[in-house]
């Protein structure tokens, strides 16, 4: 029992919190990308594979050119390419998004193993640390938020930008409209399918950047399937987040915290060191069950504010192609 508490106590170290924020960058980008894509009505089920192949592309380009920043556009390009394939297959060929997404997941995963073989164990290239002058010396908030690198800062700025875009701008409202009821959006003169291509591609770009953030910042270098399973967690977090960028960001941090907690537990329970790192995955599913638990939601109905935060209705037209003759 005390082992659990000890490990829990360590969670409140400034250093631990800062490491959770820093380690969340890859998931943050990918989760925002997936949220945008699904809001527009297109499920990009390939995230796990796209992120992996993008992580490889990012690393390879950064390694070969020795310019770390070039890795990001390369990774984004991979994400965009996969996303556009899904959009095309769904919009033009009326194929099922889930089926195409899954096939592309398998394909990109295998491709990354095959093409990344010769890069396993190569010396890493890392995004340089950069403290934000001034802000980084604020107590607590400085180390937690402002003593990282540009990619980490960009990751949480992407969350804020996604939120503001979706809920405060005209285009953002249109984005929500095309995933909610495309025929109504069409009737209002919105070019539904053109925008679906655009937002799926944008989402893919962010998923790709998430991949590069992983191989160039979170866990440096290339090994066999380094981002394994993170993509599936992204899909779960989007649902946990109720397709809301801020809630999804909280989900990402929660997952990071669970991972940190599991690692803190290892010294306490050395015999379980094999099992503990996988605990966050079922824990995430448990969290999903809890936030969608009917009885809880019913109880929360009495507190409209809390209920609004927890409400999670998927975009109604998610997964369905839109056609007008």
């Amino acid at each position: 029992m005390s082992g659990f508490l000890n490990a829990f106590g360590q969670m409140f170290d400034t250093a631990t919190i800062a490491s959770i924020v820093a380690g969340a960058s890859a998931l943050m980008f990918a989760t925002m990308g997936e949220t945008i894509s699904e809001k527009a009505g297109v499920i990009n089920l390939s995230v796990d594979g796209s992120m992996m192949l993008a992580a490889l592309a990012g690393f390879v380009v950064a390694f070969e050119t020795d310019i770390v920043w070039l890795g990001f556009p390369a990774a984004a390009a991979v994400g965009v390419a996969v996303a556009l394939l899904i959009a095309f297959a769904n919009i033009k060929l009326s194929l099922n998004q889930v089926a195409v997404g899954f096939v592309l997941f398998a394909l990109t995963t295998e491709l990354s193993r095959f093409m990344g073989n010769s890069y396993v164990g190569r010396p890493p290239v890392a995004v340089p640390a950069w403290d934000i002058p001034g802000l980084s010396s604020i107590p607590f908030f400085g180390p937690v938020l402002f003593q990282h690198n540009l990619i980490v800062y960009l990751s949480y700025m992407t969350v804020i930008a996604t939120y503001l875009f979706m809920y405060r701008t005209r285009k953002g409202l249109e984005l929500q409209g095309i995933g909610e009821r495309p025929e109504a959006a069409h009737a209002r003169g919105i070019l539904v399918n053109k925008l679906r291509y655009f937002y799926t591609a944008l989402g893919g770009a962010l998923i790709g950047i998430g991949g590069a953030a992983f191989s160039l910042d979170v866990k440096l270098g290339w090994s066999d399937r380094p981002t394994r399973n993170l993509g599936w967690i992204v899909l779960a977090i989007v649902i946990f987040g109720g397709w809301h960028p801020l809630r999804a960001a909280i989900g990402v941090l929660l997952f990071g915290a669970l991972q940190a907690y599991a690692i803190n537990l290892i010294p306490e329970f050395p015999s379980l060191s094999q099992v503990l790192p996988s605990i966050p995955f079922p824990a995430m599913i448990l969290a999903l069950v809890v936030v969608n638990w009917k009885a809880l939601l019913k109880w929360l109905d009495r507190y409209p504010f809390l209920r609004a935060i927890l409400r999670s209705d998927p975009p109604t037209a998610i997964g369905t192609p839109f056609e007008v003759d």
């Binding site: 701008t169 005209r170 009821r181 209002r188 003169g189 919105i190 209705d313 109604t316 007008v324």
Partner: protein
């Protein structure tokens, strides 16, 4: 230095000039519009003129192509060929955007609002303007329009909480806000209450007086006669006639169906034993919780249910068939107490419920007509005999004159034919048939046909309980009418001894005299 008076004068002149420009009425011409879906020629060379500042009716049987034509005119569908001429100028409508820019706005048969979004978001979505949304300013503008047209919305509630009538109102003022000068309304009166309809008509008349051209699609001749100056009649993708109103309704019917329809007068059927009995039934909370309901429906009897949407009719019908269980009282079918049983047991007791949402609850999208028949078959064989099923299905398609084949999917049938399919799926023997809006959206001929089929069932002792928003339908086909108001039965009337006005008053919650109140 110009005097303040001069400035005022100039401002007035500018405002007047502006007013002249913007409220300029538009005449509209459709020439030889063709539009097909696969083999179906939905519009087959339609030519139609709508004069500026008039209310123009569009009539036609189910599947005539009215909605298609209106969608072409609003840019939703692009026509295969044909011209649209606005004020003498040919316009190209590549998307709804072009139509809105040209001043053409359409209210769809099923109002195209985003249900989870707030009213204000629905209002601004798709409107031109700056990148950043200024919800406060939009709220002010919405409030201004609401005041002008006598509507009332809470801008911050989700649109799913609005009634269908309110969703229509929201769409209409949104279109006006966007500068629509031609307003298309596709069957706007199917899902709204009589009150809302009166309000809608008043608004439309006021708009036409301001120079708006309105195209009004409907199945109800009285509405068209009441509202419009001219009417065009379509059949099977073609225009078959045009008339100045008033015109005798028989002529319009003749144009629509090529013959004068003889309406089937209902003949009385002797009532038998009790088929459906409520004894002091009530629910725990909400609708139908205040006053216990006691009721006895005899075999062969038709009971109509009137009331504003959401006054408890849905709950009542669901109590009748075991989809809801009462907290107090008993429900019996043909003398057997089935109070706490489920819908399955009610089905076994020959009770059947046809809900309002044809595609939502009654039919399954993607399944064919034959598959629907197989599903309703309470056959216990593990393996389906498809050959036999297809034969039977072909026979039923023929018997119920469903326009389609046994292999048509449910959603590809037009509204009227979906309703025919539902009727064809009914078991041959029934004690109680419960229905919501049995003829909503059906053309007169189909509606008449449907009722002929339904009333014939009385001969076998079936009791019919149906909810409808159409008072004429209630009066014409019921023996007895129950009027619901805010969760209870406020009146019980003999159909033969009452009239539209009395029911109308009760629906609004006002009791006319003291008779007819249940004890």
């Amino acid at each position: 230095m110009p005097s303040p008076l001069l400035i005022l004068f100039r401002a007035l002149a500018a405002a007047l000039f502006h007013e002249c420009l913007t409220s300029h009425a538009m005449s509209l011409e459709l020439r030889e519009i063709h539009k097909h879906f696969g083999p179906v020629r939905a519009n087959d060379g339609i030519t139609l003129t709508v004069e500026a500042g008039t209310l123009h009716g569009l009539l036609g049987e189910n599947g005539a192509g009215k909605s298609t034509l209106m969608k072409v005119l609003s840019g939703f569908h692009s026509a295969d060929s044909g011209e649209i001429v606005l004020d003498g100028k040919r316009i190209e409508l590549a998307s709804p955007d072009d139509a809105i820019a040209a001043g053409i706005g359409m209210l769809h048969q099923d109002p195209l609002v985003f249900l989870p979004f707030t009213v204000i978001d629905n209002f601004v979505l798709g409107s031109p303007g700056s990148w950043l949304l200024d919800r406060r300013q939009a709220t002010d503008e919405l409030a201004g329009l609401c005041e002008r047209y006598g509507f009332n919305f809470d801008p911050d509630i989700p649109a799913r909480l609005l009634t269908v009538g309110e969703r229509q109102q929201l769409e209409i003022i949104r279109l006006l806000w966007l500068g629509a000068r031609v307003l298309i309304l596709d069957e706007p009166t199917t899902g709204i209450s009589a009150d809302q309809r009166a309000k809608l008509f008043a608004t439309l008349k006021a708009l036409a007086a301001e120079g708006m051209s309105v195209i009004f699609v409907s199945h109800k001749l009285e509405e068209v006669a009441d509202l419009c100056q001219r009417v065009t009649v379509m059949t099977r993708g073609k225009v078959v006639g045009d008339a100045e109103l008033p015109t005798p309704p028989e002529r319009l019917v003749e144009m629509m169906f090529g013959q004068v329809l003889d309406t089937h007068e209902r003949d009385d059927v002797p009532l038998g034993d009790s088929n459906l009995k409520f004894d002091s039934v009530r629910t725990a909370s909400g609708l139908l919780s205040e006053e216990p309901i006691s009721l006895d429906v005899k075999s062969g009897e038709v009971v109509g249910i009137a009331g504003m949407e959401g006054s408890g009719q849905d709950t009542f019908l669901r109590l009748c068939c075991g989809m809801r269980t009462p907290t107090k009282g008993t429900v019996s079918i043909a003398g057997n107490d089935l109070t706490d049983q489920h819908y399955r047991e009610f089905l076994d007791a020959e009770v059947k419920f046809l809900p309002a949402g044809r595609l939502e609850e009654g039919l399954i999208e993607g399944l064919t007509v034959t598959e629907h028949f197989v599903l309703t078959d309470r056959d216990t064989n593990f393996v389906i005999d498809w050959d036999a099923a297809r034969k039977r299905s072909e026979h039923l398609v023929d018997q119920y004159s469903i326009k389609g084949t046994e292999a048509s999917t449910a959603e590809s049938l037009s509204g009227g034919n979906q309703q025919r399919l539902l009727l064809a799926m009914l078991p041959a023997k029934l004690k109680v048939l419960l229905m919501e809006h049995p003829t909503r959206g059906l053309d007169i001929e189909s509606a008449d046909w449907v009722w002929e089929q339904l009333l014939a069932r009385r001969e076998d002792g079936t009791s019919i309980v149906f909810a409808s928003a159409d008072l004429d339908e209630l009066l014409r086909y019921s023996d007895r009418i129950l009027v619901f108001f805010s969760g209870r039965i406020i009146g019980e009337l003999e159909a033969a001894a009452t009239n539209v006005d009395e029911i109308g008053l009760l629906i609004g919650g006002r009791k006319a005299g003291a008779e007819g109140i249940p004890t």
